[in-house]
């Protein structure tokens, strides 16, 4: 059983603060593993515990992302692969998926490819499905639980409920943040993480064309970023006692009564 978990480093949103001018205070923001990817990693580790096999953790990012891969190894992953190159920078979701799918084929393919359903910073939730399409393997998104016996069974959370699906391997799953809580590192794992070599793969080794990855390979382009506030209203601050006397409160409440 070959398991791959695709992970991403994101700013630790619990540490992000807003200034009085409503702009993001970006100083000293720690980088952490994306929460939904932690779920995917924990599912992969449990599967490996039950059924054996090899678990690889893959990320595309800056050289500093190596730390996240070592932390994954300390928790039980067998190897870490870092896709890092200036040519990968500025990738949108399509160029990211293209680079990941190329790397996955380059690494020899996997029985299961696991993702977080979305990154906490970009929140597009596209990369898992796009990568699976490019690999031509079935994919299920928004997974809250999965198990593997003779086939793969997974539960998908949607707006209307939870759907159970079955699918053959190889397959890809994208996990919700709260599905599986990631374990702590072990002493053995920490030792292993110190010793292990993190495999770094660059643009040349993957043999990609420059026009297919990074900014060049991205069909979407951000042309403007602006701090315009969304839906600002003039706020009247008051005590709850005064609020309960306002006509707005009474209107809202009485209208509801008439329905």
């Amino acid at each position: 059983m070959k398991i791959l978990v695709c992970v991403k480093q994101v700013p630790d949103t619990t540490e992000v603060k807003l200034g009085s001018d409503l702009t993001l205070q970006r100083d000293f923001v720690a980088q952490v593993m994306n929460p939904a990817d932690e779920s995917a990693l924990e599912f992969g580790l449990r599967l490996k515990d039950e059924q054996g096999g090899k678990l690889t953790v893959l990320t595309m990012g800056k050289p500093a992302a190596e730390n996240m891969l070592r932390e994954s190894i300390a928790k039980g992953a067998d190897e870490g692969v870092l896709l890092t190159d200036a040519a990968f920078a500025g990738a949108d979701t399509l160029a990211t998926a293209r680079t990941l799918s190329r790397a996955i084929a380059f690494l020899g393919g996997f029985d299961l490819v696991l993702f977080g359903r979305r990154a906490a910073d970009g929140e597009t939730g596209q990369v898992g499905a796009m990568t699976a399409q490019m690999l031509d393997i079935p994919c299920l998104s928004n997974v809250i639980a999965a198990r593997l016996d003779e086939a793969l069974t997974a539960e998908q959370l949607t707006e209307s409920g939870v759907t159970q699906w079955r699918m053959p391997l190889p397959a890809a799953l994208t996990f919700c943040e709260w599905s599986y809580a990631l374990r702590l590192p072990t002493i053995m794992g920490l030792r292993q993480a110190k010793r292990v070599e993190i495999r770094k793969i660059d643009f040349a080794e993957l043999g990609m064309e420059r026009m297919s990855c990074g900014l060049h390979g991205s069909p979407t382009r951000v042309i403007h970023v602006d701090t315009r506030p969304v839906g600002v209203r003039p706020c009247q601050k008051m005590s709850v006692e005064d609020l309960l006397e306002t006509s707005s409160w009474n209107d809202a409440v009485s209208k509801e009564d008439k329905q």
């Binding site: 993001l24 596209q126 994919c139």
Partner: protein, 312 residues
């Protein structure tokens, strides 16, 4: 600009409305791509020039292949998807197959000066709005959460046609083996009052109090992503960039800091009342009324006030 709107079982009326406006502004036409013929009259009422009906596969990967084949044949300038769990997945798979750009969760769509689709979405932690173009590849693809754009019916058009398009789906590899519907609670999308809680609510128990208040107001309970991720309340209640967008008559925000990821999902509401201990919380700039106080104290006082009205 010729625009296709992909419609699920219940078409997203705001998306049809926005697509019609954009098509009209750019002398193009709006076509609805449907998976069954039940909604043909609805898409006509909301301004589609044509309804194209394709079959539906159980496996969404296979269905996305079929949608991609339809788009290949129809060659629109732009395609819009509802950003539901399913719509997101289908749009991502289709964009990968067609090797084109896809912008998720747009909060604004317009025609850029060069005639392309200008797509805006919250970015970088939600405080910034990014304007995005897809200039080189076609179709330009975007997803929009349900409820972001208001729905407006239009006058009947002179010409409207319906046709079905038979296309092979991809290989079906996923099979559906069961379904458990969401439990109780008023629908967030249609509720006249939404009582929402954020990280400040602090626990599952805290949300129980909000359910009590919502019941008294005949409303539904909403939540921010951090409250959902903490496991205090289900995903079906999530309001914001990656949840649903709501436009109730009254929106009550308890213990919500007011990140743009949340406020883009509620700023179409009628009256907004925010309760937060932190007087500088950004949520107050999105509120009509603000109470700087402990959320629980305020919620309890509101509940007492309402109980008095019900049983004087």
């Amino acid at each position: 600009m010729n625009i296709i709107v992909f419609c699920e079982q219940e078409p997203e009326l705001g998306l049809l409305t926005k697509a019609r406006e954009l098509a009209e502004q750019s002398s193009g036409r709006m076509t609805a791509l449907l998976e069954n013929s039940v909604s043909v009259s609805i898409v006509e009422r909301f301004g589609a020039a044509e309804a194209i009906v394709i079959e539906r596969a159980v496996d969404d990967c296979a269905q996305a292949d079929r949608i991609a084949a339809a788009l290949d044949q129809l060659a629109p300038d732009a395609v819009l998807f509802p950003a539901t769990v399913r719509g997101r997945f289908l749009s991502a798979w289709v964009a990968a197959k067609l090797e084109t750009g896809l912008t998720a969760d747009c909060t604004s769509l317009s025609i850029h000066s060069d005639g392309t689709l200008l797509q805006s979405r919250p970015a970088f932690g939600g405080n910034l709005t990014a304007d995005i173009l897809c200039q080189r590849r076609r179709p330009q693809m975007a997803s929009v959460r349900p409820g972001v754009f208001p729905a407006l019916e239009t006058e009947k058009r002179a010409e409207f046609s319906t046709r079905s398009l038979t296309l092979a789906a991809g290989r079906e590899r996923l099979s559906k083996i069961g379904f458990t519907p969401v439990e109780k609670g008023a629908s967030l999308q249609t509720a006249k009052v939404v009582v929402a809680g954020g990280k400040g609510v602090g626990s599952k128990k805290g949300f129980e109090l909000l359910f009590t208040l919502a019941d008294l107001l005949g409303g539904a309970v909403g939540a921010t992503r951090s409250a959902v991720d903490a496991g205090w309340i289900g995903y079906a209640h999530q309001v914001g960039q990656t949840g649903v967008a709501v436009r109730p008559r009254l929106y009550l925000a308890f213990g919500i800091s007011g990140l743009v990821q949340h406020t883009v999902g509620m700023n179409g509401s009628g009256t907004v009342i925010a309760v937060n201990k932190d007087r500088n919380a950004p949520i107050f700039s999105c509120a009509d009324y603000g109470v700087v106080d402990d959320w629980e104290t305020v919620a309890v006082q509101m509940i007492r006030n309402l109980e008095r009205m019900v049983s004087p």
